[in-house]
């Protein structure tokens, strides 16, 4: 396993995702002799995991079962230990495309935070690209380094522990793209410009508040960035449900009931000449929006250095 390469079978030292069903999962580090407790019983790594194929059903001690999934940046995003507020895959996708990232791209990022975006960036720029990520919080920087090592991607990323607003990214004129997710991105625009290649590149800044965006846009203009564009992306998820709606009883005679044009899903309804005919229903499939959804994550401001 690696976050940048698919493997078929589960090996000692892998990070795997235990899928319990219905959006509930957790990551597990596979180790000989270790056991993992789930609500369906115990998983013994040596016998239940190691050597098995990714995507297999694993039966736990209580008879319930789980699926073991190959890690991807997207699954990691949903399961990683939060050290900060993180970016989710919806924002990550548009960032990746708008920054024009591809294998071989050199990217600068700050702050590293919990590494949610970092993993996705590394996935996209591998095998020949590189991520330079800057995190001013020493413990978080250390933790990120450790995770990259565990996930087999340390050769693709350099973590620097410094303040990007004061000291920049520690590299100059080599980046194809820069991403900023810090409280005061406008203070880092100058450093971002000098990190980008002389022939140009793309920049993106993520900010929750419009005031931050305004300052960032002004700074970008000041430093000669062009094509400045701010957008927001929202994910809407739908539950697939079969809905049945009752047909109202308008006191029609029973024989008229079948000619209302509806497929009565209730066959006993047809031809029943009771005084109080049973109510017919209409069934259909619907994509029902979730009751609560994410209304705002942050504004994404993109620009070009040319």
């Amino acid at each position: 396993m690696s976050f940048v390469e698919y493997g078929d079978t589960i090996k000692d030292g892998d990070t795997a995702i235990v899928f319990l069903g219905h959006e509930s999962m957790f990551p597990v580090k596979v180790q000989h002799g270790t056991v993992t407790q789930t609500k369906y019983g115990v998983i013994r790594h040596s016998t239940d995991l190691i050597g098995k194929k990714y995507g297999s059903k694993v039966t736990c001690s209580k008879g319930g079962w789980v699926f073991i999934l190959h890690p991807t940046p997207e699954l990691w995003t949903m399961n990683l230990p939060h050290r900060t507020q993180i970016l989710y895959s919806t924002d990550i996708s548009i960032i990746t495309m708008m920054l024009e990232l591809k294998p071989g791209s050199i990217v600068c990022e700050s702050g590293t935070g919990s590494g949610s975006l970092s993993h996705a960036l590394i996935r996209t720029v591998a095998p020949t690209g590189h991520l330079y990520t800057v995190e001013f919080h020493q413990q978080r920087a250390e933790k990120a380094r450790e995770e990259f090592r565990e996930h087999g991607v340390e050769h693709l990323v350099t973590v620097t522990n410094q303040d990007v607003c004061k000291n920049g990214f520690g590299v100059s004129n080599i980046a194809d793209a820069v991403f900023l997710d810090i409280p005061s991105p406008w203070e880092a625009i100058g450093h971002a410009k000098s990190a980008l290649k002389a022939e140009g590149g793309r920049i993106c800044s993520f900010s929750p508040c419009i005031e931050q965006v305004q300052r960032t846009c002004l700074a970008m203009e000041e430093y000669g960035f062009t094509e400045i564009n701010t957008l927001e992306i929202l994910l809407r998820v739908y539950n697939v449900r079969t809905i049945s709606l009752q047909i109202p009883d308008l006191g029609k005679a029973a024989e008229d009931n079948s000619s209302t044009g509806f497929d009565s899903s209730n066959p006993s309804n047809q031809g029943s000449l009771c005084a109080s005919p049973q109510q017919g229903t209409v069934q259909f499939k619907s994509g029902v929006p979730l009751r609560e959804m994410v209304g705002h994550t942050g504004y994404l401001t993109f620009a070009t250095k040319s």
Partner: protein, 449 residues
């Protein structure tokens, strides 16, 4: 070659040798190269009103007539000067608020100062352009939706991907860009051959096409049932026609895109590999097409036979790749109903791999969702849509620009798992669960999803 764009025509010869992102101004038929930074002409009198209480719309505020303006244009006067003239001859301009003045200048600049920026093709540019200009050709797949597909599908270097698309080759191109020439792609195509008009706009280097395979959809069933043979290929003529029309659309679609910026109409168009004087990036297909044409002209039967034989060989190779059933993912974005495509094509995908289906409409995906649940072998099914909102950010004038909702299409994504044969009862519970989401029974079976 003469190119027409936004009611302007020009030759691209002058653009060669400049870096991408250079802005050009159009003269009578050629390109000039103006400075990167245009000095903002500030109206020398910084007079402005505070509100519009006294501004009356009598239609007489502009003292220049249509004919006057036309005369200015015919003289070949710089757009910048025309704008200046319009401002000077506007009686209400000075009474307008500063913001309204800005807006007025912006509008006029857009009309009279046409500048063109040449940029490098990328998924970002091409998908934005296609959505704006040819949404019908890509089933209204909005660029943010395409971005989701690439991420949800974990597209990256080294994968073995199956792609089924009828989006002019845009989705294929996006996948190719993300894979950077590493790994392989099998494109399933309907009819006589794959359409790759948009793919050729990317200007991929030739090696990117070495591991791009294609396989006719009409052969999928026979491949699954094991009765596949190469005896009945889609006819060669069809393929030729298809490629020919591809070539033509390529010519027509010198890719162009408009982005508004600052106060000018910034336009982008791509020239593949400008730095290389000769366009070496002729895409593999075009070459084949040219070859085919010559050979057809010569009517060289033996050559034709050899072509046929080569195509057959390629087809057998592709079939072998598919029958390994170990693809790393599946991307579907087509005008066809997604359910049959998915149920068949998922056969070729390894377990624990992501798949993503795009559809312009929600309803077919609802059905697809249900069918996949019945079939089993998939988990974490998700039906989703994204909304995109653009903002105008200016001092004291920040607000959302426009909400693009609907029309961006819907996605159904999920992950494959090992399908247990002979365990069909779980789908029964699925059905129960779907009917009665609040039901508290069969707790243990509930985790079968």
């Amino acid at each position: 070659r003469k190119i027409i764009f936004e009611k302007q025509w020009f030759y691209l010869d002058n653009a060669i040798g400049h870096t991408y992102g250079t802005t050009f101004e159009v003269t009578s038929g050629g390109n000039l190269q103006p400075k990167q930074e245009v000095e903002e002409t500030t109206t020398e009198t910084k007079e402005a009103g505070t509100d519009n209480r006294n501004i009356v719309d009598d239609g007489k505020s502009q003292k220049l007539t249509h004919d006057d303006i036309k005369a200015l244009k015919d003289k070949g006067i710089k757009g910048q000067e025309i704008v200046q003239q319009l401002i000077e001859n506007s009686t209400t301009f000075r009474d307008k608020t500063e913001f309204a003045q800005d807006k007025y200048i912006k509008k006029k600049k857009k009309k009279y100062e046409a500048v063109i920026t040449v940029v490098k093709p990328s998924t970002r540019i091409l998908s934005t352009m296609y959505y704006a200009r040819e949404p019908g050709k890509i089933s209204h797949l909005r660029y943010d939706t395409l971005a989701q597909m690439l991420t949800l599908g974990n597209i990256r270097a080294g994968n073995k991907m199956i792609v089924m698309e009828t989006c002019a080759g845009l989705v294929l191109g996006a996948v190719m860009e993300r894979m950077g020439g590493y790994g392989s792609i099998i494109q399933m195509y309907p009819g006589g051959g794959p359409v790759r008009a948009a793919t050729s706009c990317f200007g991929f280097p030739k090696p990117f096409f070495d591991n791009l395979h294609e396989f006719p959809l009409s052969k999928v069933d026979s491949l699954i049932s094991g009765t596949f043979s190469t005896e009945t290929l889609p006819s060669e003529e069809n393929t030729l026609e298809e490629e020919e029309s591809n070539g033509l659309t390529d010519e027509k679609q010198t890719s162009q895109l408009e982005t508004e910026e600052e106060s000018t109409t910034e336009t982008a168009m791509e020239i593949n590999q400008i730095e290389e004087q000769d366009t070496m990036d002729v895409n593999a297909e075009d070459e084949e097409f040219k070859e085919n044409k010559e050979k057809a002209n010569k009517d060289n039967v033996r050559q034709k036979q050899r072509k046929q034989w080569e195509r057959r060989k390629k087809l057998i190779e592709t079939a072998a790749l598919l029958t390994e059933k170990n693809a790393d993912g599946l991307i579907v974005a087509s005008k066809f109903h997604p359910t049959p495509l998915l149920v068949s094509l998922l056969e070729f995908v390894a377990p624990s791999r992501p798949f993503v289906v795009y559809c312009q409409y929600k309803e077919p995906l609802l059905e697809c969702y249900t069918k996949l649940r019945e079939r089993g072998g998939v988990i974490n099914l998700k039906l989703s849509e994204t909304w995109l909102r653009n903002y105008q950010v200016l001092p004291d004038r920040s607000h959302p620009k426009l909400t693009m909702s609907g029309g961006g299409g819907y996605l159904l994504s999920g992950i494959t798992v090992v399908l247990d044969k002979g365990k069909s009862d779980s789908s029964h519970f699925e059905a129960l669960k779907m009917e009665e989401p609040s039901s508290k029974r069969c707790k243990v079976q509930d985790l079968h999803c």
